[in-house]
């Protein structure tokens, strides 16, 4: 068949075989074409429109589809403005950004933006050309359907989706040529508070997820996303280490940010500083100030952080906010207990401790994990003091207690312990329950004069989480459980949750290098608990759905944050605890609560996080998803299951209309504060129209932009993602090497055999001795 076919096309054959000249020419042509393409590519790379993948995006930006699938052209950003209003301990941020569609075609854009993880994103407003659209909250699938439908009909539409808890995308359909798009997003969060320092972070850089969050928010008690971020660190100390460098130094894609912060601290403050940027502070009174950037505008290449301190003795000890949403009342309480080191009313008492170390030496810990665990435990032993009592339990599918009961941390005992730890090897199954039970056996459960701490070092490769949680809740008594996650990907869900139920903390140690820092951090906590046995009781009020469910211990300078849904007004919240060995009690009359905006939303965001965390252990995740959906819809929040969608109902013009000379709108609707936000709108617009009239630039964009713009896959942000394990054994290599070596041995054998044979026959002929081989 094939032969006959080629016979039937002799012309083709001829051109291929009998004219090498033509081929040569073709090659030259191809070569020239390739060089031109390369040069064009270079020019494009040098010139402003540049192809990017979603993974290249490190800050909020508008992406336009290009001809290369999966690649985008980043729309030049004109201006970002951030308006933060801090009232007491609640902050509301309005981020407004103007974009331009510089191409001569209609496009769909994707706007990727980073968010603080516990921020409640509730509002989207958008101006596309002269249209104003406000987003509505819908179930994710429904929202997507509405958006796709509107897009197909040529209507302007936008869709905000949560890609990850800290990364959102906004898709914008049918942006006309040369049009300016303004996106405004609002979110609310609580101000972070640590060791008397109040701080706020405005993320402008979408950092890879595995990076530790530099600002430790007290509200992360219910951190259920499996991130090891519950550690306490100074919010500004190691900022430069944490802030990732910006990969893109593209001068043309300037991303200027202006900023204004209205700080109404509610208490006299001092030391208002930014660790990330130079700021100009205009003090209004001793409790309020206006902050702007010293340079006016800065590039959006790092997160903005601010911190302020309460004047001595002026720090708030308690803050209460409430909000009525529909029939429900929501309450947010932030209480900071006094600090022994600073407040002379409380004297620091050194409390004797009893520490039980539990180390997992099962097979899953084999390799670097067990080395990390051993090293962490050795370091922990080094920190013990002579009046501390301790014991070590190791477990795989068997279990062993080093000492029959806790012993004093003297030299002899420590040496025995160190020897025991050094000799640990990883093998066998993971039977954690028996070890957990043993570690919770308390010989003096009512002794309040000493602390009982259980430190668990494991990768948490277990399947009976529920059972273990039950054991903790049932038998924790006065013991505190601190989990130390070992290895690159420990079961951090189990660890965070176990620590939460055990009223301790979770520390993640990912590498041998991280051991020192992680253990020091942990030990600072183990040695300095400020408030223990913290409990909340509600008087004369029906508080339901309190978050967090179990109140943690508090460490130096941490506040406790409680959010609750209330049935009726009035009553009181009574917080009691053990402050440095002495009973402590505070009564907060709830009718004194200040009315705060968005308290319900903050409550809802926390609740959603809690539900998200339970998904992993509950078989009934559909019910949890139902709860998440209900909460998010009721509070107008973007979540994993809900999206904000906005569709412009006004008929838009048919695609393909020439809009090159269209005037850009200047007017703004009532209640929108773009005018305030953009004091100088005119220069921006002039700049925009100038750029629009640059034909070369428009042409370049036209080249890069897909002809089928508007057809867009769902934004899939390429983050660092999860680390993947090795996917190959050494079997083949071993077999091949083995065979090679065998071949060597065999050829060696052959050589010697022939050598001997030859030399023998040589000797035989020489001496004429009878042969051996008869």
């Amino acid at each position: 068949m094939l032969i006959r076919n080629s016979d039937a096309t002799p012309g083709f054959q001829h051109s291929l075989s009998s004219s090498p000249h033509t081929i040569f020419k073709e090659i030259i042509l191809i070569f020239i074409a390739l060089s031109v393409f390369t040069l064009a590519g270079l020019a494009a790379a040098v010139a402003q429109p540049r192809l990017v993948g979603l993974g290249d995006i490190r800050s909020g930006g508008l992406l336009l589809n290009s001809k290369t699938p999966g690649k985008y052209v980043e729309a030049p950003r004109l201006q970002t403005d951030i308006n933060v209003k801090i009232t007491g301990l609640i902050s509301r941020t309005v981020i407004t950004q103007r974009f331009e569609n510089p191409s001569s075609g209609w496009v769909e854009g994707i706007y990727v933006f980073p968010m603080p993880e516990d921020a409640a994103v509730d509002t989207l407003k958008m101006q596309i050309g002269d249209r104003f659209i406000e987003g509505l909250i819908k179930e994710r699938k429904e929202a997507k359907r509405i958006y796709e439908e509107a897009k197909a009909q040529g209507k302007k539409a936008s869709l905000i989706e949560q890609e990850r808890p800290n990364m959102f995308t906004n898709s914008i359909a049918n942006i006309g040529p040369g049009e300016i798009v303004i996106v405004q997003i609002e979110y609310q969060e609580t101000v972070a508070q640590n060791k008397g320092v109040f701080s706020l972070r405005v993320p402008l850089v979408a950092a890879p997820r595995y990076l530790p969050d530099p600002v430790v928010l007290s509200v992360k008690f219910d951190s259920d996303t499996g991130l090891g971020q519950v550690g306490v660190s100074d919010p500004v100390a190691d900022r430069s280490r944490i802030t990732p460098p910006i990969a893109r130094a593209d001068e043309n894609v300037k991303n200027p940010v202006s900023l204004s912060v209205m700080l109404d601290a509610g208490f006299p403050f001092s030391n208002l500083v930014s660790a990330s940027h130079k700021i100009a502070v205009k003090t209004k009174s001793d409790t309020s100030a206006i902050i702007a950037l010293a340079k006016g505008e800065v590039p959006a290449n790092k997160d903005l952080t601010f911190s302020w301190q309460a004047a001595p003795g002026q720090a708030p000890t308690a803050a209460l906010f409430r909000e009525k949403v529909g029939d429900d009342d929501f309450l947010l309480a932030i209480v900071t207990p006094p600090r022994p080191a600073i407040d002379s009313t409380v004297t620091a008492v050194k409390i004797p401790r009893e520490i039980i170390f539990v180390i997992d030496n099962s097979g899953s810990m084999a390799g670097p994990s067990i080395r990390q665990a051993r090293q962490a435990l050795l370091r922990a032993l080094d920190r013990l003091k002579i009046d501390d009592r301790f014991n070590i339990i190791r477990f795989d599918d068997t279990m062993e207690e080093l000492f029959p009961q806790t012993v004093a941390g003297d030299k002899e005992n420590l040496n025995t312990a160190k020897r025991f730890v050094r000799n640990l090897t990883a093998d066998g199954g993971t039977e954690m329950l028996a070890a957990l039970k043993a570690s919770l056996i308390d010989t003096s459960p009512t002794d309040t004069s000493s602390l009982r701490q259980v430190v668990f070092l494991t990768d948490g490769a277990i399947g009976n989480e529920t059972q273990l949680f039950e054991e903790i809740v049932k038998n924790r008594g006065r013991s505190r459980i601190f989990t130390v996650g070992i290895g690159s990907a420990p079961n951090s869900f189990f660890m965070t949750r176990a620590a939460e139920y055990g009223r301790g903390t979770f520390t993640h140690i990912g590498s041998v290098k991280a051991v020192a820092k992680g253990m020091t951090e942990l030990f600072e906590k183990l040695e300095n608990p400020i408030m223990t046995d913290l409990a909340a009781s509600w008087e004369g009020t029906g508080a339901t759905d309190v978050s967090p469910e179990t109140l943690p211990d508090l460490y130096a300078g941490e506040p406790v944050v409680i959010a609750a849904k209330m049935k009726k007004n009035g009553g009181a919240l009574v917080l009691s605890g053990n402050l440095a060995g002495q009973p402590w009690l505070i009564n907060l009359p709830l009718d004194k609560a200040a009315s705060g905006e968005g308290i319900g939303k903050l409550w809802a965001r926390r609740k959603i996080r809690e539900y998200e965390g339970q998904r992993y252990i509950s078989e009934d995740w559909k019910k949890l998803d139902g709860l998440i959906l209900k909460t998010a819809l009721a509070h107008h929040l973007v979540s994993r299951l809900t999206s904000l969608v906005a569709v412009d109902l006004t008929p838009t013009r048919a695609q393909g209309d020439k809009l090159a000379s269209r005037k850009l709108p200047l007017e703004l609707p009532q209640g929108w504060n773009f005018n305030k936000v953009f004091g100088e709108t005119t220069p921006l617009l002039q700049k925009a129209s100038l750029q629009q009239n640059d034909p070369a630039r428009t042409a370049r964009f036209a080249q890069l932009l897909s002809s089928k713009s508007g057809r867009n896959k769902a934004a899939k942000s390429r983050s660092k993602g999860i680390a993947l394990p090795a996917g190959a054994t050494l079997a083949d290599r071993k077999i091949i090497m083995g065979l090679l070596i065998l071949f060597l041995a065999f050829s060696g054998l052959l050589v010697t055999f022939f050598w001997r044979h030859l030399s023998r026959s040589y000797t035989r002929t020489k001496i004429s001795r009878p042969s051996y081989d008869h």
């Binding site: 989706e161 949560q162 869900f493 339970q614 509950s618 995740w621 983050s719 993602g721 079997a731 041995a745």
Partner: protein
Amino acid sequence: MTTKNKSLIQRLQQTSIPQRLVAVILIATAITGFSLVGQGLYIKAKAVLAQVLLERAWSRALAGEDAAKAWPWADTWPVAKISLPRIKQKAIVLNNASGEAMAFGPGLVAGTPLPGRPGTSVISGHRDTHFEFLRNVRQGDTIEVMTRTDKRITYKVDYMEVVDASASGIEPNAPGEKLALVTCWPFDDKNPGPLRYVVYASPYKIASGQPVIKPGLISFAR
């Protein structure tokens, strides 16, 4: 007594020192070669045998046994079974993807949900044993996954991609109930490397049977 009947040692004693040395080197080389081949074959045999034992453990797991181990000292247990009808391949998936577990079967990477749960489930296997078949997987192939809740999920392969192990871009909490099968890449490379081959699939049919584990939220006293 002829030399022919003499033992090897006696013959060695007769030979000169350099000759002995050559003989020893040859024997040592041969032993090394055999042991390497043996080790390699052992890894392969272990991988095959383990799957047979795991298959039995899996039927016990389906019968309701929690953490059904294939052998008493195992540190891992089956959580799912995957099969690819077109290329007639199947494997029992283990609860973790540690090096130890992956010698016996592909494992569910820690921090990713079980198949059928929201998020992206990542199952990793060795390219030269259990996941050797990944190279034959094509776009549009169906992957059937059975989990312990007796749920059968049919996935369709969306696309394949080569990624760097440390920057896979796979988000375990991403929306949807997706599946990613991962193995080392390039397939014929004999040395471990940083690249991974990922097969992405989305569910298109879920048949739910009688759940084995009792559903219900665990609740704790405040």
